[in-house]
Every structure is written in C-alpha cells, then in structure tokens.
C-alpha cells in the first residue's frame, strides 16, 4: 500500500500512480508486457543487421495477415478456405480415432491379456512422429483426403486407447459390485456406470489428441495433400516468403489457443454439467489441462 499523504490529494495521487506503476512493472503482468515489447523491439532491430534477406519485419507479417484476412491473396486458397479444409480433416481424424480407440481402449482396460497383446504397438504408435505416417500414407494414397485424415487418426489413437483403458481401471468398483449384487444387466451397467465414468478420460484424450493431432495434420498436409493450411504453408515456403510462413504460423497458434480456451472449455462445462463441481476430482485433472494449461 502507498501511504496516503494527508497534506494534499495531488501529491498523494501522484505517489499512488507511481506506486501502482511500480507494482505493475514488477508484477507478473509487467513481465508479460516486457516480453512482448522486448520481443517486438528485438525482432525489429536485429533483422536489418542480419546478412540474409529472408527474414521479415514484424510489419511485413502483420500486413500479410491483414491482407489474408481480407481475402486479398495471391494463393489459390484464402486463409478461411485453408483452415476450413484442415478443420474438417481434423474432425474426421478425431472421429475415426474415437471410433476405433474407444472399443479398443475398453478391451485393453478390461483384460490384462488384451493389454499385453496391444501394449507394444501402442507404445510404438505413441513414439513414432507424425512425419513418418505422413510420408508413408501419402506415398500410398496420393494427394487425397485419406493421408491427412489417417495421419490424424493414427496420431490420436494411442492417447485415446491409453486414456480410456486408464478410465476403465478407474471405474468405481463399489458401483460395479452393487450392480453385480443387484444383477443389473451388462448393457445397463455399460450405459450407466462405465460410460459416464469414462467421459473425463475420453474428453481429456480428445482434447489432447486435438492439440497433437493437428500438428500432425499440418505435416501430413505438407506431404500428402494439395489443400489445407499445411499445404498453404508449403506453398509460401516454396515461394520463399518467410513473412507468409510466419503469418500462417501465427494464425495457427491463434486458432489453437482460441479453440482450446473457448471451445473445449465450453464443451467441458457442458459435458460435465451433471457433476456437482467440475473442479473436483478426476474430471478437473482430466479436462483442465489443455495446451496452454498453467
């Protein structure tokens, strides 16, 4: 607190302003602001010193992004079309991996023998970079929708399987016991006990798969596609337009952050409405950790 001067409001106000300013500068927000300013200044100042002609200034990137947003572009697709294609593929890929991964994960979680059967392959899937799928699949399928979608599905699949199988192990044992003693049919048990307890895990996996899957999708579009955001990045790369590559990267980051913060947050609140508090227990752990999770 800044001590208030009793003699005059003017000096008191001045001290308060200085105090607030000082606090702001030394606070975390001050750090954030300082970073943004320093980064922009550093970028602006170092580029002219470099030998290469390739590096753009911040203004070039901003101008490019603005032009793209107004659909004033040299490229065959506008930024809206490019990201719409990419999003569509991403959704298909996620849908496929949930469709395959959910039953697989349930089986893996249910039985140790099934787990032993699939485990090594899931590790291998997790470990291989998307690039490999992108290369192989685009050799196989050419420039169709198949390679990008399958890449997303393969990248996301192991996360779904692992999370769902964790979820199965996490099914409330007491509820299962109760169901057994009351002879609840298997189907009802699955519908009312197992699936609801799966939701947080599945949700986390999808959210997580989204963040990863679309990085993989970008690579797949670079190698095995002729449309979409990844292909646009390649297009500008081959035209040696660094400002455009950086501009697209920024679009990408912005969209990812917005989707993560807004879309998934809303969805998560909606899916877990039935819970007394989303902040509690496994669901919070499962859902509140996205790409930019603190």
């Amino acid at each position: 607190m800044v001590p208030r001067s009793s003699t005059g409001t003017r000096t008191g106000g001045g001290a308060a302003i200085v105090g607030t300013l000082g606090r702001f500068i030394t606070s975390r927000q001050g750090g954030i602001l300082a970073f943004v300013l320093l980064a922009l200044a550093g970028w602006q100042l170092t580029v002219p010193l470099l030998v290469t002609e390739q590096l753009p200034l911040p203004a070039d990137v901003a101008r490019f992004m603005w032009d793209e947003l107004r659909v004033d572009t040299l490229a065959p697709y506008s930024v809206y079309e490019a990201f719409a294609t990419t999003m569509q593929r991403l959704m298909w890929g996620l849908a496929w991996s949930v469709a395959v991964g959910l039953p697989l994960g349930l089986m893996v979680g249910w039985s140790r023998r099934v787990e032993a059967f699939f485990r090594d392959w899931i590790f291998l899937l997790l470990a291989s970079p998307a690039l490999i799928w992108a290369l192989i699949l685009s050799l196989w399928f050419g420039f169709t929708n198949v390679a990008p979608i399958a890449t997303v599905a393969l990248v996301v699949l192991p996360y779904i399987v692992m999370n769902v199988s964790q979820g199965v192990k996490d099914v409330p044992l007491d509820l299962l016991d109760m169901g057994r003693s009351f002879q609840v049919p298997r189907r009802t048990m699955i519908r009312h006990v197992i699936l609801p307890s799966q939701m947080p895990f599945l949700f986390a996996a999808v959210r997580y798969g989204f963040a990863n899957g679309w990085k993989g999708l970008l690579v797949a579009e670079v190698f095995g596609s002729d449309s979409g955001a990844g292909w646009m990045i390649r297009y500008w790369y081959e035209a040696r337009r660094a400002y455009a590559v950086i501009g697209y990267a920024l679009f990408f980051v912005l969209i990812a952050l917005v989707l993560e913060r807004v879309f998934f947050q809303t969805l998560s609140n909606r899916v877990f409405r039935w819970r007394p508090s989303v902040e509690e227990g496994a669901s919070a752990k499962a859902t509140d950790r996205g790409i930019g999770a603190e």
Binding site: E115, D120, V219, I233, V245, F252, I291
Partner: protein, 308 residues
C-alpha cells in the same frame, strides 16, 4: 510435501504428453508403486495423463503372438492384396535394412544425424534449464518467459523447421536452431515445476540451522528438482529427435531424415520403411535405455524408484 511420485496425476499433462512416447520410467515406477499399492491393498489414485500405468507385463505369450499376428497381417496384405512396390513384405524390408547396414550407409548417416542431434540436445538442455530456473525463481521472469514458452509449444515444429530453412538454407546450423527453439520449452516447464516443488519447510530449516548456500542447493534443491529435470530431459529428447527428423527431411543433405526424404521422393516404400524403422528404433533405444538408466541411477534414493 511428499516427494512427487507418479501415482499422483502427471502435472504436465497436456504440456508434455505431446512428447511422451514411451514413458519408460513411468512404466517402471508405476509398477513398483502398483506393487506397493497391491501389498497394502490400497487401490486409489490413478493417473489420467499419458503417464500411464500399464502394468509391466509378464504375458510373454500374448506379446509374442501379437508381434506374429501383426507381422502375419502385414505379410498377408502384401502377398494377397497389394503389389510389392506399394507394401513390401516384412522380409524384404528386413533385407533392405541388412543391406544398408552392410554397405555402411546406415552408420554414415546415423553418425551425422546423431552428432547434430546431441549438440542440439545439449543446447536445448542448457537453454531450457536456464529459462526454467529463472521462471521458477521470479514471478516477473515467469511472466516474461511464460507466454513465449506457451507459444513455442503451441506452434507446430514444422514452422520452426521451415523458417530456419528459409533463413539458413541447407546448412548444419539451421536444424540445430530449429530443434532448440522447438524443444527448449519442454525442459523449462519441467524445471519450473521442479523449482516450485522444492520443499519450503526444508529450506526454512536449512536457513535456521545456517546451512551453507552450496549445501542447501546440494541437499535440498537438487534432490527436489532432479526428478523433474530428468523428466524434462526425456521429453526434451523425444521432441528433439522428432524435430531433427523433420529438419533433415526438409533441409538436409545428409542424415537419416535426408535418406527418408530421398526414398519418399523416389516412391521407394521399401527403402522408406527401412530407414524409418532404423531411426525410430535407434531413437527409442537412446530414450529408453540411456536416459532411463541415468534417471534410475540418480533417483536411487527415492523409495518408489530405486529402493523397490
């Protein structure tokens, strides 16, 4: 505060899970944790994150039969449904691997790739830990570096590779820069978490008993940060080799990734699969065996890791 064990949820879920390919140590530690849990018949917290607790399996029959099963599927599809140039049978890929080993091509390119990879990894560790420690120690620096780090790992590594390619052309340095920029944040976030986990009460006690600064760092700070540091190193390495691969495919003139790019451009699936398998398997070997051994060795003192 108890030492961080992996039976609690992975604090990096969503941050590191990206590069959490095998989680080898997770496997080992989880087993031991699970063994202890079983002894006390205390079935409680399970991890949601990718730090899975698949039990260490003794189901060798299933594992071997699974390997045979998938190889048989591969062989079957290749013989009955697709042409060999689309999907070569497993034996042919094996023969190709043997041939690149015999001609010495594999060693030549692997040496080149790994040399650069380890230089980049060392730089990643240095930069990542410096930033991570700085973030852990001051709120201002935390604010300063945080958004940068978040942006770094939201941005696909492809972008760094391409921009580095535009700036440096086909060079030795370009990929190194791309790798370091793309992967340092994985190390720094882990160290940041590690610094926050340093037990405050022990630090206070050290102060009260007038421990020297060096001794405090050696005996209180380092043991608390070490597990996070190793985790960061492992995640960092996983990221590093993936970016290195990408960089070599795009802008290399030598190295394993370059050979993959060549195979891709000449539509040679056999050779592509051979190079892919040899790189992925060797990278997994480094990640699993070397880094994990190192980690287990340094964390021996922890009951749930070394003591058993």
């Amino acid at each position: 505060m108890p030492p961080p064990t992996l039976s609690r949820p992975d604090p990096h879920y969503g941050i590191n899970a990206d590069v959490h390919p095998t989680g080898p140590s997770g496997l080992v530690r989880k087993d031991r944790v699970e063994a202890i849990e079983n002894q006390t018949s205390n079935e409680e917290t399970r991890t949601v994150g990718v730090e899975h607790n698949f039990a260490r399996s003794t189901y060798w029959v299933e594992r071997v039969s699974s390997l045979l099963f998938f190889l048989a599927i591969w062989q079957g599809i290749s013989t009955f449904f697709l042409e060999d140039f689309i999907l070569p049978p497993p034996l042919e890929v094996g023969r190709e691997i043997v041939s690149i080993v015999e001609t010495g091509e594999l060693w030549e390119h692997a040496l080149f790739s790994y040399q650069r990879l380890f230089i980049a990894f060392a730089l990643t560790l240095v930069m990542g830990s410096a930033i991570g420690l700085a973030m852990g120690m001051s709120r201002w620096l935390d604010g300063f570096f945080r958004d940068a780090s978040v942006i770094m790992f939201t941005t696909p590594s492809l972008i760094f590779v391409l921009v580095a390619g535009l700036i440096f052309g086909i060079s030795y340095v370009g990929p190194i820069v791309a790798i370091v920029v793309a992967s340092f944040s994985y190390v720094s976030f882990n160290l940041w978490e590690g610094v926050r986990s340093v037990p405050k009460d022990l630090m206070d006690m050290g102060q009260v008993y007038k421990m020297r600064r060096v001794a405090r760092i050696r005996h209180i700070v380092m043991p608390a940060v070490a597990p996070y540091g190793f985790q960061g190193a492992r995640f960092g390495f996983a990221m590093t080799w993936k970016v290195a691969l990408l960089a070599e495919v795009f802008g290399g003139n030598s190295g394993l990734g370059y050979k993959m790019g060549v195979a891709y451009q000449s539509f040679d699936v056999t050779s592509l699969l051979a190079w892919v398998l040899s790189f992925v398997l060797s990278a997994l070997f480094f990640e699993r065996l070397l880094l994990q051994q190192l980690e287990n060795r340094s964390l021996r003192w922890r009951p749930d890791v070394g003591g058993g």
